[in-house]
Amino acid sequence: MTQSASIASCDDLARPVLRERGQREVFCGLTGIVWLHRKIQDAFFLVVGSRTCAHLIQSAAGVMVFAEPRFATAIMEERDLAGLADANEELDRVVDKLLERRPEIRLLFLVGSCPSEVIKLDLSRAAQRLSKKHSPAVRVLNYSGSGIETTFTQGEDACLAALVPDAPQSEADAPQSLLVVGALPDIVEDQFARIFADLGIKDVAFFPPRRSTQMPAIGPNTRFLIAQPFLGDTARMLEERGARRLPALIPLGAEGTTHWFKAAADAWGIDAGTFQRAIAPGRDRAKRALSRHRDALQGKSIFFFPDSQLEPPLARFLAQELGMRPIEIGTPYLNRDLLSAELEQLPADALLSEGQDVDLQLDRCRAARPDIIVCGLGLANPLEREGFTTKWSIELVFSPIHGFDCAGDLAGLFARPLARRAMLRV
């Protein structure tokens, strides 16, 4: 189903990129709620959408059925659309009911969806109105996770971008501070925090914070490192407040993580000896852990279907540190700015593709016969049945994969499906 495809060469990019527009087999940005609500522990995510939205989040959340999760859907019904009910009054009523039920909530996100965008329901005005009404107990923000505007992880970008204006302004004469941007598992944040401490960087904060009441101050003194490749809008919002991004690789693998810390160390003028002493233990552990997976992965070809935008840094890590051969690196959206360092290090013979036409991509994939395919849950079992080995891409978003101490686990995620296929005699 070719709606349009083009091979383009970017000015700042020496390599061609295959751009496709056809059927996309990806989640929408609402899916990010599944991990964001676990990260910000006093936040509630209220999707304003349809039964489809509710069903999607429930299906994506899979087994994670909590007593009463900190997300829900305000399902629009016929009378909301037919104008029989005032959508804003309805929304206010739902929010009142929700906050009455959940008094511990401090931050409420109204999350836009495809239907709410199409009927042009103004959630930013609703958020202002409701914020005023429920202040100071609860702040109400909004962002769009709609599938007509966001793909999967872009929902996190939209959420964090909406959170930036909410952070306090830092003092004009405040000393330089570091902000790590992107939702990471708590254990990874703690690992990073220990290394920053060893480097002697004292003023470090993570964004988003674990509690909405602990919002870090932001201003021209802020230097930030992005931990996830899909945070383009959030980076722009931070820069608008005067913060400056420290360009680096994404902290995946021993090399990516070293490069990432080095960017911070350079900005703080930390000497080479201190840097080595702080980094060496973790870096050595990562290398040892990776060496255990090298035999299984070395020389193996890998094909990425687009999913989370993590595909280019993952391909860089797998090629550089484990000797894998990326055939196609598909990404829903290629953020050339944030990924400039990554793109330079990708193997020259790998095809970089942006967007998707899933049937054509499946044709290419079958023709290439890769040793392992990274793809979404809708494609994995059908490809396994055709005899391919697959890795579910969503696990790469839900698992701790960043930093030195997760590098081995990250490699293991790719080694395990291959090892399993080799083991089974059924």
Partner: protein, 508 residues
């Protein structure tokens, strides 16, 4: 707007997908944004299907809205036809595309494809998954089956259609096998089973059967009624879940087909009657059970619970309002109020108030029960990966009755085991804090689940200690009874004596 935490049913186009994916040779072109492709994983992951669902999504984006989403739809249709070469195509819109009003039916018709193309009008903001499946099946049957029945030679065996099974159905796969076997025992041929595993060509042959067997009214009733009206095919409506219902089903089929049911009834290989009569099942007597699911499974379960296992039905409900009347009628048989709700929190509140000893519900109620520390067995969709076991595990027919006995009683056998454990409560390795062994991962400590329900009444430490000696699966009831007893008598404090006074008061 309706505040929804978890939902029992997906949107109606997911129902249409269940029909299309269950069939062979049908392709569904769905005007929908990219996020809607999540529905594929329901089939490839939950049901472990080895092929992608036969669905093409247009995945339009915001930038397409200002230009030509209609053209996008036409291209998607044309490309899907060329690539997949289906025998028939269904076209429609998901919730978002419904708002942009591109008229998928008209656009597809304009392409003049050489196959039947059915437009589906599934109002996403009014209807849900079962309705969508029902409407899709009905439209397919109506469009494709429009022909005269082929005359059959005299003396041919009676023949019927089996209606209602779909992809992602709760045990549909095995139910169809079991019902085919029952019909075989009666000497009846199956003309077509649909939608599951049927082709469009099979649907054309539906009028050739003498009668229809409707397994899942939620999905097949509308089509069955149309076939009855148009071709005079009578319909067997007894859902053969449980031993009694299976026997009734055989009798009803035999009557309509004009065959002798004796051989099939005598073949009865079910172990349920003896398993239920044997003395070790005595403790099942009068177990208070709450039942919730889709209407037809819930109603059938209530009969099995009451007549075949000797439970007491203390609550009965369903999430599909379309069949509320049938559920209310069944509820009166057991003298209970029907719970008709698709609000998960409301169902949870009903269960918490009733404090049943067993819950028969959906995966949602399984989670509710975990939290309330009540044993639970799953009897109905929404489907979960656990509802697609590797083994043969029907709900219907004689084998289905065996499956029901095992599935519903096992959580309670574990309950009895817990009773034994309480005898060793001070033992170094068995103690109350360890929690029930079968509710391992997510069980809250029993104390939390059984927190006092009437706060103004206090318990003396001795009474609390005595309460904790009562097995956990009746402890909630004992606490509730004691507090009710005390509050009715205006007693501010519950002593050991109050506990036992209440026990004797409420003993039947």
């Amino acid at each position: 707007m309706k505040l929804t935490v978890w939902t029992y049913e997906g949107p109606p186009h997911v129902g249409a997908m269940r029909v299309a994916t269950g069939m062979k040779g049908v392709h569904y072109v769905l005007h929908a944004p990219q996020g809607d492709t999540y529905a594929d994983l329901l089939f490839t992951m939950i049901e472990r299907r080895s092929e992608r669902p036969p669905v093409t999504y247009t995945t339009f984006q915001a930038r397409d809205l200002g230009t030509d989403t209609a053209e996008l739809f036409k291209n998607a249709c044309r490309d899907a036809y060329t690539r997949f070469q289906p025998e028939a195509m269904i076209v429609g819109a998901s919730c978002t595309a419904e708002l942009i009003q591109d008229d998928p039916g008209g656009l597809a018709r304009a392409l003049d494809l050489p196959i039947p193309v059915l437009p589906l009008d599934l109002p996403s903001y009014q209807r849900k998954e079962n309705w969508g499946a029902s409407e899709t099946f009905y439209q397919l049957v109506r469009t494709l089956a429009a022909k005269q029945a082929t005359p059959r030679p005299d003396g041919a065996r009676p023949s019927c259609n089996i209606l209602g099974a779909t992809a992602l159905g709760f045990r549909h796969r095995d139910d169809v096998v079991e019902v085919r076997r029952l019909l075989g025992l009666l000497g009846i041929d199956v003309n077509v089973a649909a939608p599951l595993d049927a082709t469009p060509a099979d649907l054309r042959r539906l009028p050739d059967a003498d009668f229809n067997v409707l397994l899942y009214p939620e999905i097949g009733d509308v089509a069955a009624r149309w076939l009855e009206k148009t071709y005079g095919q009578p319909c067997v409506r007894t859902v053969p879940i449980g031993l009694g219902a299976t026997r009734d089903f055989i009798a009803e089929v035999a009557k309509i087909a004009g065959v002798d049911p004796a051989a099939a009834l005598e073949s009865d290989p079910s172990r349920l009657p003896w398993w239920s009569r044997s003395v070790d099942s005595n403790y099942l007597t009068g177990k208070r059970v709450f039942i919730f699911g889709d209407a037809s499974h819930a109603i059938a379960a209530a009969r099995v619970a009451s007549e075949e296992l000797g439970f007491e039905v203390v609550g009965l409900g369903a999430y599909n309002r379309e069949m509320a009347r049938e559920v209310r009628a069944a509820a009166t048989l057991y003298g209970v109020e029907a719970t008709i709700s698709d609000d998960y929190l409301e169902v949870e509140a009903v269960i918490a108030a009733l404090q049943p000893e067993l819950v028969l519900g959906t995966q949602m109620e399984r989670h509710i029960s975990k939290r309330l520390n009540i044993p639970c067995a799953v009897i109905s969709a929404p489907a979960h990966v656990q509802d697609f076991p590797a083994r043969y595990s029907p709900q219907m027919g004689f084998e289905g009755a065996n499956v029901l006995f095992d599935t519903w009683v096992h959580p309670l056998v574990m309950g009895l085991e817990e009773h034994l454990l309480t005898m060793f409560r001070d033992d170094f390795e068995f103690n109350d804090a360890a929690g029930p062994s079968h509710l391992a991962a997510h069980a809250p400590p029993p104390a939390a689940a059984l927190a006092a329900s009437v706060s103004e009444i206090t318990w003396t430490p001795e009474a609390e200690a005595e309460l904790s000696k009562i097995p956990f699966f009746v402890r909630g009831k004992a606490r509730r009874n004691a507090e009710r007893f005390a509050s009715e008598r205006g007693l501010p404090t519950i002593h050991i004596e109050t506990l036992y006074d209440a026990k004797s008061h409420y003993t039947k």
